[in-house]
Symmetry: C2
Subunit: 364 residues, 2 copies
């Protein structure tokens, strides 16, 4: 099955082979070298000179580690314009007071409303950079800028942007950011990484979960180790995935993600379908996932079911968007051929039902 969902992504052959090996001890030089290499490349991808910690757990574990470890704040503004923004709020409320600034899913963030929440007494803010549930790239730089005016600590869910789009934590003034392994980095799921500015440690809360306590990770990283047994096969895979990224070059990789996603969007618009996101002057379409309104006369079950018959997995909408949108992920080591195959099949299914025009061959 070709995975064209917003993670887990299709693995490069080299990454599959990297996992197919015997275990090693995790307190050995060999493991330390892998950990060191991964940490250094991830710093580049996050755009930070500061700490990066790799945790054996999903992206959600990384987000909780980030928020809980630096939860010594009075109140955190959580921006919710999609499922993952909503999740940030749910995680944060276990640790501190939360003010959720909510926008209808699919709509863009209004900076004024964010500022109002900050002005009302938040000393921290959390937002999703690339909201895969709706296909929107939220304005990270602008949010961090306004947060700076209020001296607020900035948390960014960069789970689906790091490795596929520009992330410049230090330049933008983001204090804590999180990435997942199974998205634009192109590795299998099961690891996440948290990048932490120096300033964030002023907000360190020792009552964070034991397993997610970055202070323990920091201490052990001095010996190039992890505090608890790491998921070794996933480290083998991440190591190879990051080597592939270095070989491709980060700029080239981001360009590829952008061009492929632009191609998907061009097909959507020209074929007569509608993109789901409502943009404003700050937001952009995601360059790693495209959310498309479900055309009338086709059900989610039919569309995705027929795609599965073609051997391709795409995503539906989440929560109340189920049945209203479908989503095509373009993440990791995805190729033009993968995108073309996907759109060909989509076009075939939708043309047959008379809901789109056949335009694909003219776009290539």
């Amino acid at each position: 099955m070709l995975l064209m969902i917003p993670g887990p992504v299709q693995l490069h052959d080299r990454i599959i082979r990297a996992m197919a090996r015997q275990m090693i001890g995790h307190r050995t030089r060999e493991f330390s070298e892998i950990l060191e290499y991964c940490t250094e490349v991830l710093k580049e991808l996050f755009g930070t000179k500061h700490d990066v910690f790799i945790i054996s757990g999903s992206g959600t574990a990384g987000l909780e580690s980030a928020i809980s470890c630096f939860s010594n704040v009075k109140r955190i503004t959580c921006i919710d314009n999609g499922k993952f923004g909503d999740r940030l709020g749910k995680i944060a409320e276990r640790y501190t007071e939360v003010d959720v600034v909510k926008f209808e899913w699919g709509r863009s963030i209004e900076i004024d409303e964010v500022e109002r929440s900050l002005a009302e007494g938040s000393d921290a803010i959390a937002f999703v950079h690339n909201e895969t549930s709706t296909g929107i790239l939220n304005p990270a730089k602008e949010i961090a800028k306004i947060a700076k005016e209020y001296d607020a600590l900035v948390f960014m869910d960069a789970i689906t942007s790091v490795g596929g789009d520009y992330v410049e934590m230090d330049d933008w003034g983001v204090d804590v950011a999180v990435v997942g392994s199974q998205k634009c980095i192109g590795a299998p799921p099961g690891l996440c990484a948290v990048a932490v500015s120096e300033r964030a440690w002023e907000f360190y809360n020792e009552r964070c979960p034991f397993y997610l306590d970055l202070e323990a990770y920091r201490k052990k990283l001095n010996d190039l180790q992890t505090p608890y047994t790491p998921a070794i096969p996933l480290f083998f895979a991440l190591h190879e995935a990051l080597k592939i990224i270095e070989e491709e070059g980060i700029e080239n990789r981001i360009r590829r993600h952008r061009e492929l996603s632009e191609f998907v969007r061009r097909w959507v618009v020209e074929s007569g379908l509608e993109l789901f996101p409502e943009l404003n002057e700050f937001s952009k379409y995601s360059n790693t996932v495209t959310a498309i309104k479900m055309p009338r006369g086709v059900s989610d079950g039919e569309l995705r079911g027929e795609m599965r018959k073609f051997g391709i997995l795409i995503s539906g909408g989440q929560e109340h968007l189920k049945g209203k949108i479908f989503r095509v992920g373009v993440m990791g080591n995805v190729t033009f051929r993968d995108v073309l195959t996907t759109l060909s099949c989509l076009e075939r299914i939708l043309v047959k039902r008379g809901v789109v025009k056949p335009v694909l061959s003219g776009l290539i």
Copy 2:
């Protein structure tokens, strides 16, 4: 390198190959079937008819999930007679009041002292079944029995016993138990499982960490899914590891662990080395790891360094036991040949230094 450490263990070829495949979607029937199979076999290994939840994270994540989710208790007695007992206390103190009942590492648990702590006002107890830091099998059944007299909730760290020794949660009256994937189950590290009695839910604390909240796992398991993206390659591996266990038969597997560990202990004693644990009427030697006193005139660095030259990894002591003991793990799909190879090399190194007698060939 042959891994003869108490986890991660050497992988069976079939398990290595099981990981070497393309990703699948985690919201698919294929993944659900894997999750269902793994959950059912784990129930057998835990000796429970109740819930088992698999978490993407190390054994420590599983312990924290167990304790934090059911931390609606007044006070928890944590038994510490080794590094992992100590860890239980450190995790528990983030969530509730803790009374640590401490024994010198390497000594056995005195049930009377445990009872005193319970009588003084604990309504929960946590202990390590198989303490790998010292090579002791703690008396799970006796601890659970005394806990029952005080109606206390019973947490058991079974990370290194499940799959290698008898664990009968329901029979013994253990409420919550945890296993790690990379120990006696024989899979790679990165997954853990938490088994939960019905009664434990009476102590459910909704303020547990979001990522480790078993209520979310319980809801999603109804649809045979996990709440967050699972570490898919590790599920492929666990699935294969559990198939191997089913093929071997649980009884046979436990017998193999016992016989191999007995063989290690016989060699230790006959060669003139000393076992580290001090047993009492309740405790036993671990059947999955053997802790041996470091003989005079040999340093930890020398012994383990020379073993590494032979291509074999064994463990040293942890924390203050560093340099005082060394440990040989016999876990998972380990064979008699692996044990023999290990003891041959140990004997060669130690005979050369004149600290043991060559007895191995006479024992085979």
